[in-house]
């Protein structure tokens, strides 16, 4: 009997894990000239839409002391920048191509997206 309960519980846990991590909906925030991105256990907002051919200022505010999030990498714009704790770090980007570009922490565990529209 206990084995059946554990099995059912296991299946539910796996489904929950799948739903929790892989099925999340992420809203896109449209940035005009400047956007604040909170760095605390991830990036908030995670999906940022920025205009094509215009300089947008991304202001990363790191509040998470974990060393994992100490760097932000926006590889398509050749940016790898250290974010001092509890400070705002400005990164200016001027996209010359449209599309979706990933940004992540130094080790690639936390991700965000920049959508050039």
């Amino acid at each position: 009997m206990d084995k059946i309960i554990v099995s059912i519980f296991g299946v539910i846990s796996i489904l929950f894990t799948y739903w929790f991590f892989f099925m999340k909906k992420v809203n896109t925030v449209v940035a005009t000239d400047e956007i604040n991105i909170l760095v605390d256990g991830g990036y908030k907002p995670e999906r940022i839409a920025i205009p094509y051919g215009k300089t947008t200022k991304l202001v990363f505010h790191r509040k998470d002391s974990s060393s994992c999030l100490e760097e932000v990498v926006i590889a398509d714009f050749k940016v790898r920048k250290f974010l001092p704790l509890n400070e705002k770090t400005e990164i200016e980007i001027n996209p010359t191509k449209k599309g979706e570009f990933d940004f992540s922490c130094g080790m690639g565990m936390f991700h965000g997206k920049i959508i050039v529209i």
Binding site: K3, G41, G42, K78
Partner: protein, 741 residues
Amino acid sequence: MNKQTFAIKGMHCASCVYTNEKALKAISGVTEAVVNLTTGKATLTSEQPVETNKIVDAVASVGYQVLIEKEESLDDKIKTEKIKELKELKVKVIVSLFLSGFIVWGSFPGLMNTAPDIVKNMFYHFLLASIVQFWGAYDFYRATISSLRHRIANMDTLVVIGTTVAYLYSTAVVFYPGFFERLNLKVEPYFDVSTVIIGLILLGRFLEAQAKAGTGEAIKKLIGLQAKTARVIRNKKEIDIAIDEVVAGDLIRVRPGEKIPVDGVIVEGESAIDESMVTGESMPASKYKGDTVIGATMNKSGSFVYKATKVGKDTMLSQIIKLVEEAQGSKAPIQRLADIISSYFVPIVIMLAISTFVGWYVFGPSSAFIFAMLNSIAVLIIACPCAMGLATPTAIMVGTGIGAQHGILIKDAESLETAHKIKTIIFDKTGTLTKGQPEVTNIVLIDKARYQKFFDGKQKTAKNLVSSLLNLSASIEKSSEHPLGEAIVNKAEEEKLKLSKVIKFKSITGKGVEGIVDGKKVYVGKLLNDLSIKEADKLKNQGKTVVYVYVEDKLVGLIAIADTVKETAREAVQQLQNLRIDVFMITGDNRETAQAIALQVGIKKENVLAEVLPEEKEKKVKELKRNNQIVAFVGDGINDAPALASADVGIAMGTGTDVAIEAAGITLVNKNLMSVVSAIKLSKQTMKTIKLNLFWAFAYNVVLIPVAMIGLISPILASGAMAISSISVVTNSLFLKKAKI
């Protein structure tokens, strides 16, 4: 108008304000000075920025003190933060491992017999384990909670789930042993598991953070090269000022053994300068009036004055730093797969751990719950996404850094990756394989006896005769503006010959120049009749240009001039061929000249692309690319931009101070052709490191996760393996520093 604001210490009344304002206004060039008592700050308005020492002196002269607070640089911030982080981590590692050691001593079968009763007490274990769990692993909890809010899981999540399960189970065993007895489970806590895992993972983090600091060392060294002060000459006085106060146009004095502060051009004096730190060229360069000097290089012998041309972010060093930083921010295509996998990795590991638990609980032997719990913890702990994330970037950081130290600037990680696959390399001839400046290569006397007779037999030895012929020709050519003439004059100057006086100088368009030297009519230029001269033909076949010297209308000698190949060309071509790279040469020159140069440097006859117009170079590159070959083009980066851009890897060479070349994937700061070989070797070494790192990171997880699932690894062993896994990847990247390139 320029404004400067700074704080003044020691002001307490309105008269202090007045005194300070008066002193500041007295500084030459200051148009206005406003001192505010409440904020304790002064604002100066001036035409030109006022040097800090002048401000300090002016304020000190009236008995106050200027507080110059420099804003902490990003580098300092990183350093402070890292030192703090490492210090905290060190304390946590020591305490956690120490406490877990006690728990192991008091609970490990065999070992526990030697322990006093207090050490064996379960409540005492609970107390120590709680400290490790909530103080030692505090950062893991905080990171997990904040990332779960974003519905993201990472390494910390795995550690937290694994150790929390062990800790909570053990706590329940300590406080409700009866419950477990009724379930036929041994009353045995697993505090050793939770604490040792935390201790070892913290130790892993500590070592990893230390090793990672080493990967960015190269760029720190480059930043550290910057001089702090400059001795500028203003109003005929030499003053030492901070480097950021130097403006373009300033005259700067540099003495032997001093660092050159910014880029510029020598206006007075000469010296030998060690430029190895910026260009990677090991031989000191001789510099004279009119030559450019690079900031951050070292003046060896002479004292000189130079005019600053580029300061601040425009200097060559600043541009190199920017380029390296950008390259380190880019991603190598090889990293893509690792990126995709690591973004799904942690949730999948959680699912596998749940499956392991269920599998062992349902199918495991008696006391299945314990097996199920310990094995699923082992799965959570052994999984190491960090190694995958660190595999490529750490190697790229080290690789691009080493490159910069050798004068090899890599634009992005993709260029570094592509360079290791180069199968064909095309060298532009002029200025790349050759020095790009015509030089006298041969001086031949045609009729020794007649020549001697002309000049009354003054010169006896053959060496004397040759020098005399060169002297004669150079004396005439001195007044000409032809590049070939310049080569002859340069040669004479090199041999320190004293030129003779020329009268009745005449330039014959399309032919040559003539004049009277020592009473004799001398002509230097093209052949004056159609006779074929054996010696001249031989030189022409070697791709050289021949200039004929006539005295009194009689041909007496020949001077051969050619664009000479660089000393390093032959060795570089040979080494590239040893790397199984097909070497081509491209030039606008005629086939004979091109073949002659190719022969000298060791390029195969069929690989010579001669008589190619500049605009056709790009087309030739594309033709060679058609056979699915990875093609590199090596050129000067100015005229060859389209060819550089169309090659898979464009390599721009020796472009002096203008390093930010968009078209090139790799820029070589020096003109040494061996740097091309070094760049390719660097790429090969870096890729080897990346591949080994990725293999290790993937194989580790692919092999050990299933091993943990079938219960062959204890959770404690798993945490040890995990810690070693990411450190080994970073350490392997650091080994790149030892690579021979």
